[in-house]
Symmetry: C2
């Protein structure tokens, strides 16, 4: 079905309030989830609402967290998320990074004791209206095997970078450090189609085109796919995300990161608290006058967008273009939801006595 | 031939002095070049000495630069390299980043008006002895086509991240944002072997396995290789390197970056000065006590290194492991040089009246 985004937002917010979140936090969390659906990243949108609620049921998500800065310098901080929703802890940490950037040029905040923060791009884009470059990353449940490893030790560990321009829309890179996101595999599973080579390995560590490979004990592969195509680089980038998010903050890292799914128990021997995120804000005028920077960004963007394409009509895209186009469409026409997602939401609606809009 | 690294260092330094560099700068530049040869990244070592000298002959490299901080805040600076060797400007900018980290927790320096800075890993590793995480990146001559583009608009734009540990050696990621470095293609050209798919496209933008594809008007491909395998992510990362290095600093970006080879003229319509770099230093104790961080890094490293391998005996590597192993070997046994490199060095020796060691 297709549903107006305001209605979906109100429903999501109401469910979160009924589940125990204060109004302000519920509103923010719903906004972050909706921003994923609007940008076409539906794997990180309301489809995950049931997952978050299950973590609350298990006591693994604290609906009323008291976050705390546990260490700081003029340009850095470590924030303890008190086991709150990453959807709420993330924007608070990004705000702190931006405030530090206002003071000393840049701000860098590592977060421990948090949970899944949703779509990485949302957090990085918070910096744009303050004329900052925004950076956000997070570690995640171990589903990815390093190059040469049979074991899954890393998450899809995304990196998002948002850079303001003037007349052009902002540059917004938001990427998992794997060849393909888990959501794309799920699409292939539903279609019973094969996965391209380089996406998945099986339980023995051999390449496979089976989209069920990960579910059957295999692993997602780092960007690059195999050694010959640079998987050691994807593995290296994912590792940097893990270390910045969790070793700097005191969260769990690598195979110790608690799983998002409530039916799997967290490691019995944690090396830190919860999952970790990392945020950065760099004021553009801490480097050169803002107007100058932005007009050169416009020039960068238009030169790349107007590059000669390999196939006529199939133009070169700027990071953020496809998501922005979808958002324009979905804001007007409504957000499409898959049937299983609608079922889940209706179930939540009836449990929490919130009407699902029809 | 194989040559003792001290002898190669002395020779390189003497050539640079004879070419007009002050003793201190010549020593530093020779050290950076040698560090590449010692780490097995021979494409960025003394093999490039002739190229730098040719740029001096053309007046494109200034042997006696007067670098200048043109903008700064407590945690940021922009450094103008006065057209000096990147090999010398790079370490100065990194030093500035470290000094700022000592003051306010982190330091971030964008550099304009520079030249090729050699091996990215060298600069990032400068931060380690001050218990900082070091980050270095640079833009480079346009050889890489963005996803869907026929044109070459980006360089191999490397990212290096060095992270200190305690008993374990440091984590040192040093990667081009392409599937494969240009040096690897040159090896295949000499062997007359085919390149793997996903490394190169031809002049029409079609995939090719011809290792001469780039020389014949084609392009290197961003990490990922093609859209299905995530080349838009490699393109995005390379773009971030270009923007941080050049749009923040006021250097040339994208297709305007001056070519390293002296026989190609820089763009007639530059959008900035020289090429750009970007450096970062983050003090680990700006986030948590240094000892705590380092002992968790040891744990991270040993857990990953001891992961169950796909092939028995073919262990999981930590970024920096292969290069460190080669450095141990080459420091003892001498640095291997290819015949054409020896010829170039002998030619430089006879031009500058410096004896090439035999």
């Amino acid at each position: 079905m297709v549903i107006a985004h305001e209605q979906l937002f109100q429903f999501t917010k109401s469910v979160l309030i009924a589940a125990g979140c204060p109004e302000k936090e519920a509103r923010l969390a719903a906004e972050v989830l909706l921003s994923a659906d609007l940008r076409g990243v539906d794997s990180h949108g309301v489809a995950r609402l049931k997952g978050y609620i299950r973590l609350m049921d298990k006591g693994r998500v604290n609906t009323k967290p008291e976050t705390k800065v546990i260490h700081e310098t003029p340009s850095t901080a470590v924030l303890d998320g008190d086991a709150g929703l990453g959807l709420v802890v993330g924007p608070e940490a990004m705000r702190l990074a931006i405030d530090k950037a206002k003071q000393v040029g840049t701000g860098w905040v590592s977060v421990r004791n948090s949970n899944h923060f949703g779509i990485a791009g949302y957090h990085s884009m918070l910096a744009l209206k303050d004329d900052c470059i925004g950076i956000s990353m997070t570690n995640a449940s171990p589903l990815v095997a390093p190059t040469f490893s049979k074991e899954r030790l890393l998450g899809t560990n995304p990196i998002a970078v948002a850079i303001p321009a003037d007349k052009e829309p902002p540059f917004v890179l938001d990427m998992a450090t794997t060849t393909a996101a888990n959501g794309k595999l799920e699409v292939l599973q539903r279609k019973k189609a094969e996965a391209p080579s380089g996406w998945v390995q099986d339980a023995d560590g051999n390449p496979t085109v089976d989209p069920l490979g990960v579910k059957n004990g295999g692993a997602l592969l780092p960007l690059g796919g195999d050694r010959e195509h640079g998987s050691h680089k994807g593995y290296g980038l994912s590792s940097v995300v893990d270390i910045f998010s969790a070793v700097l903050s005191g969260a769990n890292y690598g195979p110790w990161v608690p799983p998002f799914v409530a039916f799997m128990e967290p490691a019995a021997d944690p090396v830190g608290k919860g999952i970790g995120h990392f945020f950065g804000a760099m004021r553009i005028d801490a480097f050169r006058p803002g107007g100058e920077f932005k007009s050169h960004m416009d020039n960068w963007i238009s030169r790349f967008r107007n590059a000669e394409p390999v196939i006529k009509g199939h133009d070169v895209l700027i990071p953020g273009d496809p998501e922005r186009k979808l958002e324009q469409k979905y804001r007007t026409e409504g957000v499409p939801l898959l049937d299983p997602v609608v079922e889940d939401l209706k179930e939540l609606g009836s449990r929490f006595e919130v009407n699902f809009p029809t």
